[in-house]
């Protein structure tokens, strides 16, 4: 298996999903060797964890990597020496983002592919399973060397992440998906997107819904939030185009024009945060629509406990793990139809991401009838319990068997 992130070194949902998928497969008896760019903690027992960096330094031949080959922009050229010093600095600063998605991403992708080639030539395995575009080159390289079938797992595609697709990323994605023997998607929604954008036939695609780590088996106690004076409506996630924060703000504007005892909070940060702060100021709603900045896990939990409602307004959400996080803290939600999660949790009120009137209407219903929110969570809980990584592992194993022809 080829992964880009693995806990505890993660920047988002991809690392969490990769961990869950590997564990679910291990529960089905699948033996996994997982290659990640780098790793510093101990490997969990259910798999064999390898770091590309360590692998390369061990087997490094006299022939250095020619980075000019794969740098799309000459100006971002960085010598391995410069890279090392940058890397050490980033490491010292303790920022996992700097480590995983630095300015030399394409260099990292190529290095990772080289490590994958190396490991594929020295190990015996039945199937190659890679996660998102950063690992697709590595997957193709491993397939070339070993001849084993390639499974490409799509957590998101470039068209989901940005309205201005990076052409280099799109090209890598396209090649990876074309060369794959099986394309696994995290939702039907994503499968349709892959078909539309890359023309991949449905015959070689499949859906494997992500699981969720339920910490408690009981249905979460739907507490009345500590905040009593104003009802608090939450957005959380990266403040980027993909997550539709502008639709959250438009929904807030509509709701505030009808009622004033509401507070809207955006937790998170991203490239749209500053323009949106200015927009809120222009609307003169800065005292009602608040920006909390980036929060750690403890702060986010405290914020959730004090919230009455979560709105997920994503423009394109392949799965939507955040909704589950909110629900498990007892916060009801209204979600975008353009998401994978809306396929599974069909009883949650949903709207097209652009339909802010509908969002506002559903939000008012939930705010005005706390019982409705409680009911939402109580009804969803059994459904949530069915969504497990074990089930995800079972599904993926059956796809493996199909690809291997037995």
């Amino acid at each position: 298996m080829l992964g880009w992130e693995f806990p505890p070194l993660i920047t988002g949902g991809l690392g969490v999903a990769c961990h869950g998928i590997a564990r679910g497969l291990a529960q089905q008896g699948v033996k996994i060797t997982l290659l990640v760019p780098r790793y510093y903690s101990n490997s969990p027992k259910f798999l064999r964890l390898l770091s590309a960096e360590k692998l390369l330094s061990k087997f490094e031949t006299s022939q250095p990597i020619d980075i000019s080959e794969f740098f799309p922009l000459g100006s971002s050229y960085l010598s391995p020496e410069d890279y090392e010093s940058w890397y050490k600095k980033a490491l010292a600063s303790g920022s996992p983002i700097a480590l995983l998605y630095g300015p030399t991403l394409f260099y990292e992708v190529e290095k990772f592919a080289k490590a994958s080639e190396l490991i594929a030539s020295k190990t015996k395995f039945d199937i190659i399973h890679c996660h998102d575009w950063m690992t697709y080159k590595a997957g193709m390289r491993a397939k070339e060397v070993s001849g084993a079938p390639l499974v490409a797992h799509v957590h998101s595609i470039e068209n989901d992440r940005s309205p201005f697709c990076n052409p280099v990323v799109s090209e890598i994605e396209k090649q990876g998906l074309k060369n794959a023997d099986l394309v696994l998607c995290v939702s039907k929604y994503t499968m349709n997107r892959v078909r539309q954008v890359y023309g991949i036939p449905e015959s070689k695609m499949g859906v494997a819904y992500n699981g969720i780590e339920l910490k408690n088996c009981e249905s979460p106690l739907v507490k009345n939030p500590r905040n009593k004076r104003q009802k608090q409506v939450l957005f959380f996630g990266r403040i980027t185009w993909q997550k539709g924060p502008d639709y959250f703000i438009e929904t807030a504007r509509i709701m505030l024009s009808k009622r004033s005892n509401l507070r809207f909070v955006l937790a998170g940060w991203g490239d749209k945060a500053i323009p949106l702060i200015e927009q809120v100021a222009h609307l003169r709603l800065g005292n009602k629509i608040l920006f909390a900045g980036f929060l750690n896990e403890r702060e986010l939990k405290a914020l959730l406990i004090n919230s009455n409602l979560f709105l997920m307004t994503s423009i394109s959400e392949p799965f939507g793990l955040v909704v589950l996080e909110g629900l498990s803290q007892g916060v009801p939600a209204v979600i975008s139809k353009q998401s994978g999660i809306s396929e599974i949790l069909t009883s949650i009120p949903s709207a097209d991401y652009w339909d802010t009137e509908k969002f506002a209407q559903s939000a008012f219903e939930l705010i005005d009838n706390p019982e409705l929110g409680k009911k939402q969570i109580q009804e969803i809980w059994p459904e949530l319990k069915k969504i497990s990584w074990r089930k995800n592992g079972k599904t993926i194993l059956s796809y493996y068997q199909r690809v291997l022809g037995n």
């Binding site: 905040n227 004076r229 937790a267 200015e278 009602k288 900045g293 929060l295 702060e299 004090n306």
Partner: protein, 371 residues
Amino acid sequence: MDIENNHSYFDDEQNRAIIKKVAEKCYLPANQTIYQLIQETQGRFRVAYSISGVALEQLERFYPAVIDSFQRLAQTGAVEFLAETYYHSLAIIFSPGEFCEQVNKHLETLNRLFGLRPTTFRNTELAYHDYLAQQIEQMGFKAVLAEGVDWLVGENGSGKLYKASGTKNVKVLLRHYRLSDDIAFRFSSSKWQEYPLYADKWAKWVRATPGPLVNIFIDYETFGEHHWDTSGIFAFLKYLPQVLLSSPEIEILTPGEIANKYEPMAEFAPPHWISWADTERDLSAWLGNDMQRDAMERLYQLESRVKASQDAGLIEDWRKLTTSDHFYYMSTKHAGDAEVHNYFNPHQSPHFAYATFMRILNDLEARLSPS
């Protein structure tokens, strides 16, 4: 982000540390130097201080020795204390009622600490319009300070004493910003062609300036904080009285004394609000973008409800939010002025400053609602 549960908005520890640093680098040594100069010149060297109520409050709390040394200065009779808004606010723009209350609170503080009743007013950051002069005339003030803006009075216009338009007889003293900024901004700049600036050179410029007035008004932190001791700023200050007073035609007076002694030579009527800030010399340093306007408007919108609550702690918190610096931190101006804005900014960026301020405002508003 703990709205409705945590109402502690101000960072006492940081305030204490800053007061200590500035007291030791500037207030104490500068007060000592000025006290000696007054003694040495038998009171011919004279100064005026404009110290906000919040500054006095923090000095009393965190460094009372500074208050003692101001009291000693007050007793010399060569020092005038000016009135301003207690909270260093721009309340006059948004709420004349609140403005009066803040000025009265400042007057009470000056009376308590120094036993004085000022007759000269200086508004926050020299923000000025006819309306201000009319308001303070009703409150009994005789004179007011403003910026000597070139486009309004010409290059040498700050040498005259003015009458404020629309008042019976409020006298306006205009800051000579070039000679003031020579000391306040350019003194330690080695790129400046006049660097290094010695007291006799600067005194020569003063003599060459058409008067009769040369009004110098600068940040007190010029001495020891903006320019460190090693820049020679204290030596400059020490020699200044003797080189100025060696010319018989030069007399040093405080603003109140000037207003008593001279009659106005012209009328001062700026067409809009002016101030001493940034190159624009208007209110754009505090109200230049939507974030600043939203924050200010939303703040003053709460005034009547805050006061109706009769909750002293809540009213005090609200008033501390009127301090103009909060809005200054939200400025998004670029180039030269941004350097000045950023130097004083405790926030990561103007957008963080705004986001933080609005979270506090939201919490304050929530305290007004019944739970």
